[in-house]
């Protein structure tokens, strides 16, 4: 795991969330995770390719996901319908896009895949052989875990 890859994703997620939802976004302590983690219910995943290979996950519970989708669309969502899911994918795309742009402007060569959203309580998140670095972001709508696992090729 390249530690240099991690902070831009956390900074970018913090900045984009601050524009998307009202209130303060506070980053918690970074921790290393090599074991599979249970999903909180809603997980957006973005693949990273190029000089580094891996993925970035944004993991949250259903209530948090619905509140964020509602805030971003300016209308209440009570179900994770197609538009709500699409909104969360776009949010994940903006957070990773901004981070990868910052890394590439610093001399790295990374690309991202389109975001995909998984839902379900009984899903576990594994980085395969990759260790993941996880940073919780506390938002007024609930916590989002930013989980980064990227290895240098």
């Amino acid at each position: 795991m390249r530690y240099a890859y991690v902070q831009p994703f956390v900074d970018s997620a913090q900045r984009i969330l601050a524009e998307a939802v009202p209130g303060r976004i506070v980053a918690g302590d970074l921790r290393l995770s090599s074991a599979a983690l249970p999903s909180r219910g809603v997980t957006a995943i973005v693949g990273v390719t190029g000089e580094g290979e891996g993925r970035v996950l944004f993991d949250m519970d259903r209530e948090t996901a619905l509140r964020i989708a509602s805030a971003m669309n300016g209308e209440p969502f009570h179900e994770l319908d197609q538009l709500a899911k699409d909104t969360l994918c776009e949010l994940a795309g903006m957070m990773t896009g901004k981070a990868v742009s910052a890394l590439n402007d610093g001399g790295h060569r990374l690309r991202v895949t389109p975001p995909t959203l998984f839902t379900g309580e009984n899903v576990s998140i594994s980085g395969g052989e990759l260790e993941a670095l996880v940073v919780p972001l506390e938002t007024p709508f609930g916590e989002i875990a930013v989980n980064v696992a990227i290895a240098t090729c």
Partner: protein, 135 residues
């Protein structure tokens, strides 16, 4: 290819038509809200580059707001396709991938401007005004 005799009258923000191209429904709706709020009228929407070229030919909007990363055909290729049909087409790229090389590639393809996501209404207003005001 057209010779470019269109648009003899300068557009104002009170009257312009737009085509929004993005594979995200949220992004299309969000951009539509901002453009309508500054006086635009939706000519159409597309979710990939190929559809964008087809829509552009039939709708002839005053301005196109184009995402880059999309399935089937990406935005930069679509810009080239649209400009091959109409060299006066006014296209603004809108993407979360905003590193320098990407911005340069987008502008080299013929896009008039580049907006980094997330976009704000004030930014959209000033860039649309600038692009539509170009001679």
């Amino acid at each position: 290819m057209k010779s470019g005799g269109r648009r003899p009258v300068a557009k104002t923000l009170r009257s312009f038509s737009f085509l929004v191209v993005d594979d995200s429904e949220f992004a299309r709706r969000n951009m539509e809200k901002m453009l309508v709020a500054i006086g635009g009228q939706a000519a159409g929407f597309a979710s990939n580059g190929r559809e964008a070229i087809r829509q552009y030919k039939s709708l002839q909007p005053d301005i196109v707001l184009m995402d880059i990363t999309m399935p089937e055909m990406e935005g930069i290729e679509a810009v080239e396709g649209i400009l091959a049909e109409d060299q006066l087409a006014k296209i603004v790229m809108v993407s979360s991938m905003s590193y320098q090389d990407m911005v340069k590639r987008a502008l080299a393809s013929g896009a008039k401007h580049f907006l980094a996501k997330p976009v704000k209404r004030e930014q959209v207003a000033s860039i649309v005004e600038f692009v539509l005001g170009e001679s």
